[in-house]
Symmetry: C2
Subunit: 590 residues, 2 copies
């Protein structure tokens, strides 16, 4: 049976050795009092216990049983409620929350490691608190002090959960055309009416209350995305003293039957004149919601890494134990009926592909976490501004690249098992089904790619990209850095193709969408190359301290550079085909 053991040694390697996070924390006043290397390690170890022993064991039974809906109520699978109760006692929901309202104030660099464990253990379970954390972030950033002090403490505690209500049946990517409306009331509240679909955790039996963040239109709102406002709509109304009042007019109409994440309730939510409160300014709800969405996008990206990590762990164990055929170079286990399949080059190719992409992703997530921490906690305005620009640039890459390659890794991990990968018993097929949603929700990966190339690269003439590539060039130009030549070649390709796109997009708006997905992948592979070179650099200089561990890092780096990075050649060539080959057919001729 599959089990999950958090890759603590690898996480510490990234956090302490590659990014030297404790040194950063020590120089940021808001963090210096909260966290140091020992605190971080203690938190990660506790997180490993909670996810491995409490939450992972519910992964398969949760999938078998699924969330159940009956007459507006949702029942989570057996064991979820008890586990959730224990889970929130650890304060995990408020891990990186604002200490002023009860959050633990931990850096994002640490939170991303925890999130990876949570998704690796049980994606469905993880979602029940992931949405809460994001909702808290939006409330903390945009709501009034009164709303913050009422709602944030119980949400950080996990007694109340959050949800994100954007999509309507006719409006997913295109939020400008939503129909949910908000009527202002004399007391400053609003009555919200409309129907939302695909609401993760819109209803459940884990928490005392659910705080919906809802996009809706005011009566006088301009059409399109500039006429959308954000509202806080609790499932149960909240009295002035913070105690729970009457039920609000919001109910769960049904839940979806899905390919995976079956233990996560995906709800149709009906608002029938529900009482809500404006968050942020009228008609600027989309921008406020993006605070939450950007958080969720990184989080959902990490789902891709987490699922891939679990799939890798299972496949590695199986490949060491399953006896089948002999090694091409002769018997390795002559006393056995056959050799373990890990002797076969193609099995190694699959495992190393997973390992290289998962560890590359973990390092990239930590880098984005670092920039998030700098953008939030740095007292140097220039550093803060640069970090914010990098976060904006890198978030869509993290979301889409982690999850596209996360699916690939889960498919490979299933393939290692042969026929046993296709049956439910081993858990590998569930990981494929569960990770697949991560390419779709929180903005499809196609939308992430448009965001990256259109808004984050072309719109600023490539300035944000150069912030990023400059760091890569600086690293590769230092003497003795590993893979410097390959890295410089890769980053040059990225810059060249960006310049080419900037020119083309100026005369034809279709060029952005024609190139965007391949561009995002090209970007991702170049970014991972940088991170693998950095990891190899640390491994080289630390070798004597733990030869097996650092040798494995160097071997995986070599695999990445020789077998995976060459994918950028094809991506570049495909991008340069331009948009014309996409527009030769009219819609009827497809």
């Amino acid at each position: 049976m599959p089990e999950f053991n958090a890759p603590l040694r690898d996480m510490r390697f990234v956090l302490h050795e590659v990014f030297e996070a404790p040194a950063l924390w020590a120089r940021l006043p808001a963090l210096a009092d909260h966290v140091d290397a020992d605190t971080a390690d203690a938190i990660l170890e506790e997180a490993a216990k909670v996810t491995g022993q409490l939450i992972a064991p519910l992964n398969r039974s949760g999938d078998e049983e699924g969330a159940q809906w009956q007459a507006t109520t949702v029942t989570t699978p057996s064991g979820f409620k008890a586990a959730y109760t224990t889970y929130i006692e650890g304060g995990w929901v408020g891990l990186s929350g604002n200490p002023e309202f009860g959050g633990m104030g931990m850096p994002k660099m640490l939170a991303v490691q925890f999130e990876e464990m949570l998704y690796a253990a049980n994606s469905s379970f993880a979602l029940y608190s992931a949405l809460s954390s994001g909702a808290c972030l939006a409330i903390d950033a945009h709501a009034t002090h009164a709303l913050k002090s009422t709602y944030l403490p119980p949400m950080y505690e996990g007694r109340w959960a959050g949800s994100m209500c954007l999509t309507e049946a006719h409006a997913g990517t295109d939020l400008g055309i939503i129909r949910t409306r908000a009527e202002p009331q004399a007391d400053g509240s609003f009555l919200i009416t409309g129907s939302k679909i695909f609401i993760t955790g819109g209803e459940q039996d884990l928490t005392e209350n659910i705080i919906h963040l809802v996009l809706a239109k005011l009566p006088d709102a301009p059409p399109g995305p500039k006429g959308i406002s954000l509202f806080l709509v609790p499932k149960r109304r909240v009295n002035a003293d913070g105690s729970l009042g009457a039920a609000n007019a919001v109910t769960c109409g049904s839940i979806e039957h899905k390919m995976g994440i079956k233990a996560s309730a995906t709800c149709v939510m009906n608002f029938d004149g529900a009482c809500g409160w404006l968050i942020g300014e009228a008609n600027k709800g989309l921008a406020a919601m993006f605070t939450m969405m950007n958080y969720e996008r990184l989080s959902i990206g990490i789902q891709g890494i987490g699922c891939a990590e679990t799939s890798y762990q299972n496949a590695r164990t199986y490949a060491r134990e399953r006896l089948q055929s002999r090694a091409p170079t002769g018997k390795v286990a002559p006393d056995k009926v056959a050799d373990p399949i890990i002797v076969h080059p193609d099995v190694r190719r699959m495992l190393l592909s997973m390992k290289a992409m998962t560890e590359g992703g973990r390092a990239f997530a930590s880098y984005v976490g670092q920039q998030l921490d700098l953008s939030k906690f740095s007292d140097d305005p220039q550093e803060q501004e640069q970090a914010s620009a990098l976060v904006a640039l890198l978030t869509p890459v993290a979301k889409a690249f982690f999850t596209d390659t996360g699916l690939d890794s889960c498919v490979l991990g299933q393939q290692v098992f042969g026929g046993h990968g296709y049956i439910r018993e081993w858990g590998q097929e569930q990981l494929v089904r569960d990770v697949r949603i991560a390419q779709i929700y929180e903005g499809t990966n196609g939308i992430q790619a448009l965001d990256l190339l259109g808004r984050k690269v072309v719109a600023n003439g490539g300035a944000a990209l150069r912030l990023f590539t400059r760091q890569i060039r600086q690293f590769a130009s230092l003497p003795g850095k590993p893979y410097a030549r390959e890295l410089l070649d890769a980053v040059q390709r990225l810059e060249d193709v960006t310049d080419w796109l900037l020119t083309r997009a100026a005369s034809n708006p279709n060029e952005i969408g024609a190139a965007s997905v391949e561009y995002l992948h090209l970007f991702g592979y170049v970014a991972y190359a940088w991170l693998w070179a950095r990891m190899a650099d640390v491994a080289q200089s630390s070798m004597d301290a733990d030869p097996p561990f650092y040798t494995a890092k160097l071997a995986t780096a070599r695999f990445y550079f020789t077998r995976l990075l060459p994918r950028i050649l094809s991506l570049e060539q495909s991008i340069r085909a331009g948009s014309e080959p996409l527009f030769e057919l009219d819609a009827a001729s497809f």
Copy 2:
């Protein structure tokens, strides 16, 4: 709701225009009397009706209900038995069967089109007869006349089904270590004892009898793959007059719970001294079984194309109807709230990727079918020999490339639907789950790749490959052929990397397995390039007859050459990394 309409126009294009099959049939005596262009069209039209109207409507309900097992019996989902009864009345199971025993004697080129429709309509349903067709082929090729006349007629009729019993719990890829044994009896029969797993249609309620082809070891068999024999083991014994006798000692112990193809019963089969008959020579069972396996491998490859075709049809319809956002170049449907998503370049990229790969695959399957027909029916020994060599070379490519890219296409088709692709209602997620098995069963795609590069390329020093590439070079060297330059470049890369591998493999057996999967993909993309150039060639010269149809072919060819074929650049580079980067880690360091 999804529906399936067989792509008859595209199938006729491949069959009549690209391959000019009727002219070939006319010159092969064994086919000339059975089939001409009109017969073929009539069969395809009838097949389209049967698959679209009778079988496709059971696809989703079959997935929801699944095959059910209870105390050795298997119940197929509601409607399957009635549909199967109607289906076999059309004689479809014996479509390409031997006319001497009641088969219809149709060419494989026609059968591959029918098989595509069957898998496209309902993969689970398709499997119940796909195994019968393969079993018939092995019986026809290797069994005694007495066994053939007893078993083939009811199997071609579909009243009896076939199964293929190879895998045991400890022996999948490595059949040399199977434990099932066969005890010779005085009457020339054998008592078969052992347990087989993953047996598709090992038990069901559709047919009067099930004929298991079982691999087992005789008492004096040498160890390993050279000690395996093939036996025919009926579920119910058969009397001398062909009527059904008593139950044989073979029972279904359970069925698997799987990711997909849930309406197909995947059985544990227990043989407890069951009466069986030797097929072919003792200890040469693996070779005899390969007659069936090669057939099934092409068939399972076609599952990849069929599922991709259905996913494409659904995605195309959805992309024309779903309104969301505006085209980058300005409103296309100004009277509507948004434009249909087919205006967006990235949606077109997804649809064109599916279209190009599915139509390329269809042409490749027809080409393999053509070579199968030549190897079976040609009266020119040299032509027959060459065709057989090509079939051996191309079968693993068809199986693995169709299904690897079939998964990609189904994932893209799901992605076009956004969140709606993840819920069961639209059928797209089922296609992903159903097609996924095709990369695993009948020999994993990793095994196909080893077969291609090891046995079919390196073992004969590249001679079979040159048979194939010579045809491509001949085509590309004719004056005026489209994409000749790209094609020659691609085939040169394939040949160069093959030469490189031949040299490397001579000194290190790990090189084959290190390169095999990427090599198979490289081969596949080059083969599709040839077929797309041939299709473009026909489209150019036939343009006036149907401009919209042929324009679409040219546009899809252009998309293939500019956006997909560049993938060979990366594949080649990855192959040339060699095996060393795979062997730096010992098993414990993964």
